[in-house]
């Protein structure tokens, strides 16, 4: 069944409500029918009863009028008009009674046709028949009354008296008829009461039956709801009990789309989540166990470390003691260094003066070298002049050479007579060649001199440069020595600060000694704490194993 439980319950309630509503409507309808029946009966009976009363009254009136007319006729003193008026009244009333009879008969016929029950119809038919009989008698009464009135008009007392017995008899018959009609009406009323009682009884039984059907339907609906809701819920409860007992392996069969199925799916999801949780829990517990073991090992290591720390603190204390001794020595040595540095500063001032002298000497050397360079340059100009002279001499010797050659040629052309001249020419040429050779040697020597001068110039320039460099270096040295002196002074101050710092250091080391004492106490406290941590980690391990046991309870 795929209808949800809410809808099922709603459906049952709707069915019951519909049945009850139908019952109520039916009951209301029956009550309405009874009331209508009663109304009809009462209205009809009352109408007919009133008509019958009118008829009775009119009949009696007719009797009274007739008697009055008779009495008026008999009493001779009465005027005739009065008698005729009474007769007219009588006729008028008789006319009305006649109409009333017709109306009663017609009404009875109509009611018989539309009667709610056959008994009532029979009663109305009987009443109609009786009324019809009464009307017949009434017409006879009128017929017999007319001669009397004629006698009245004629004031014939005997005729009047003669008619009196017959008319009275007819009058009695008519009254008896009317009484019978009344009885018939009473029967009709009884029949109407009977009819109402019948309707009431039928309604009572119908309502009782419908109530019984409603109860039965309610029982059926309750049974259906129980079967569709409570049984699946019991299965779910059993499953929940299994889960509560730690069995996470099962699943609930969840078919359909109703609330139970959704509850089953939700429970399945919850159980799978619980299984995951239990698995995770178990893994976490195992991790916790391992971690507790590690913590224990760490605590043991820490205990060992604390002992080492304790030993190290002892060593540190010894070392600090040595540092104190060496600090004192540092102070002493720094004092010695200060004295040495002060003597160094004095020495460097002497060196400064010496360097200044050196710089002045270098300057003098440079000036002298520059003078030498000037002289050498002048010498070089002189050698240049010598070179010009040599060129001139060379030119002369060349010309002489050519002259001697031409002379030799001329001598040869002169033949025998020029022979001696040829010798002279030869001599001239020899001289010219020797002069040329000599100028060549002089030129060579002059070149060497020139080179020497150039070298000297370069050397002198080098000397000037070196003297300048020496001056620069002397200046640098001077500055350096000044810096050295300044730095030595700074060093003196620094060492004085060092001595002061060393004294402060000694104070600081004493504080360090105190701090080391504190550290030693702290180490002992740490060792105690470590032992406590070890015990706590052992407890933690036991707890973790207990947790493991608990986690094992869940099957999945």
């Amino acid at each position: 069944m795929s209808i949800s439980i809410g809808k099922r319950i709603l459906l049952g309630f709707v069915a019951i409500t519909v049945v009850v509503l139908a019952l109520g409507l039916y009951a209301l309808d029956q009550i309405g029918a009874v009331r209508e029946n009663m109304n009809t009966i009462v209205k009809r009976d009352l109408t007919v009863a009133r008509q019958l009363d009118d008829l009775g009254n009119k009949t009696r009136d007719m009797g009274l009028l007739r008697r009055n007319a008779v009495m008026a006729a008999l009493m001779r003193n009465r005027p005739t008009s009065e008698v005729s008026q009474i007769v007219d009244n009588w006729r008028r009333v008789a006319q009305e009674a006649e109409a009333l009879f017709g109306e009663i008969v017609r009404t009875a016929g109509t009611y018989a046709a539309t009667a709610p029950s056959p008994m009532r119809a029979a009663a109305w038919r009987k009443l109609g028949d009786t009324a019809a009989g009464a009307a017949n008698d009434f017409r006879q009464l009128r017929a017999v009354s007319e001669p009397q009135f004629a006698a009245v008009a004629s004031r014939d007392a005997e005729a009047i008296e003669a008619q009196n017995d017959t008319i009275n008899r007819m009058q009695d018959i008519l009254l008896a008829d009317i009484d019978r009609t009344r009885e018939a009406l009473d029967e009709g009323i009884a029949a109407g009461q009977q009819r109402s009682a019948d309707i009431y009884d039928r309604s009572l039984w119908s309502v009782i039956l419908t109530l019984a059907a409603s109860v039965l339907l309610s029982i059926i609906v309750t049974g259906l709801i129980r079967r569709g809701v409570v049984k699946p819920l019991e299965e779910v409860m059993q499953f929940a009990e299994r889960v509560g007992g730690g069995d996470l392996s099962g699943t609930l069969e969840a078919k359909g789309n109703d609330e139970i199925a959704r509850l089953g799916r939700t429970l399945n999801g919850m159980v799978s989540g619980l299984a995951d949780l239990a698995r995770t829990n178990r893994a976490a517990t195992a991790d916790l166990n391992a971690a507790a073991a590690e913590i224990r090992a760490s605590a043991q290591e820490q205990a060992a470390s604390v002992e080492e720390q304790f030993a190290a603190v002892q060593e540190t204390a010894a070392t600090v003691d040595e540092i104190t001794h060496s600090g004192a020595q540092i102070g002493k040595r720094a004092g010695e260094v200060i004295a040495t540095a002060q003597s160094t500063a004095q020495t460097s001032r002497a060196g400064l003066r010496a360097v200044a002298d050196t710089a002045r000497a270098m300057e003098a050397i440079r000036e002298q070298a520059e003078a030498v360079a000037g002289n050498i340059v002048a010498l070089s100009e002189k050698t240049q002049a010598i070179g010009d002279i040599i060129t001139t001499v060379n030119d002369i010797s060349e010309r002489t050479h050519l002259l001697a050659l031409n002379a030799a040629i001329e001598a040869a052309a002169a033949g025998e007579s020029g022979r001696s001249f040829a010798v002279v020419a030869s001599e001239m040429k020899l001289l010219a060649d020797q002069a040329k050779a000599a100028t060549g040697q002089v030129r060579t020597i002059l070149g060497e001199i020139q080179r020497g001068i150039n070298t000297s110039v370069m050397l002198t320039e080098e000397a000037v440069k070196r003297a300048a460099a020496g001056k620069t270096r002397s200046d640098t040295t001077q500055r350096t020595i000044e810096e050295i002196t300044a730095k030595v002074d700074e060093s003196v101050q620094t060492f004085q600060q060092i001595v002061a710092s060393t004294n402060q250091q000694q104070l600081g080391i004493e504080q360090v000694m105190g701090a080391l004492q504190n550290i030693r106490q702290a180490s002992q406290q740490t060792a105690a704490g470590t032992r406590e941590v070890e015990a706590a980690s052992a407890n933690l391990t036991e707890l973790a194993q207990a947790l493991m046991t608990l986690a094992e309870r869940y099957r999945h």
Binding site: A408, I409, A422, V423
Partner: protein
């Protein structure tokens, strides 16, 4: 240079001058038949020009180039109202195209209006005439064919020992032979 060395040097110079002056007389006395040559150098080679065919020696001067001339003709110069062609001796002898240096000399010839451009004129040397009967004599000119030379413009070769000049004997380091140029045969090519 100290004064003593100076004195010694001057004395040596004077002795040499004295010897040279005395030699002049002996040279004239020791007259042997010989030919004189003007010795010229061109690019390291020494050439001898017969002195009788040389008119003058002058120093080099600017040469006016002549268009369309043979390669050996450097150009022309004007000298004492004459126009002379300048012939490069080394080129004319087929010894390469060495350019005449700046301090060169020009040798003016008697036979033709021609000047020979040489590197330098060294001097005059006398060589003893060759004895036709004694060809193997080391003195005098040697026939070119005998000396292994076949240039047609060369008329002979004077070995180093054939020079009879005094200075060559006095300065043995400068002794070297020279080629005697046959000027008429050389110039025929350019004057025809």
């Amino acid at each position: 240079m100290n004064p003593a060395a100076e004195t010694l040097r001057r004395q040596a110079l004077r002795r040499a001058r004295t010897r040279a002056l005395a030699e002049r007389v002996r040279t004239v006395e020791r007259e042997t038949p010989s030919s004189s040559f003007l010795i010229c150098t061109c690019g390291g080679d020494r050439y001898g020009l017969p002195l009788s065919q040389v008119a003058q020696v002058i120093s080099a001067r600017p040469i006016t180039s002549v268009p369309g001339a043979p390669a050996a003709i450097l150009g022309a110069i004007a000298l004492s109202g004459r126009v002379l062609s300048v012939l490069a001796l080394a080129r004319a002898l087929g010894r390469g195209g060495a350019v005449i240096p700046e301090g060169g000399h020009l040798v003016i010839l008697r036979a033709a209006a021609l000047a020979l451009a040489v590197d330098r004129v060294e001097g005059v040397l006398a060589v003893a005439d060759a004895d036709p009967a004694d060809r193997a004599s080391p003195e005098g000119l040697v026939d070119p064919a005998t000396a292994g030379l076949s240039n047609e413009t060369v008329s002979g070769y004077a070995p180093a020992g054939a020079v009879a000049s005094r200075e060559s004997k006095r300065e043995p380091s400068q002794q070297s032979g020279f080629v005697v140029v046959d000027l008429p045969r050389l110039l025929r090519r350019y004057l025809s």
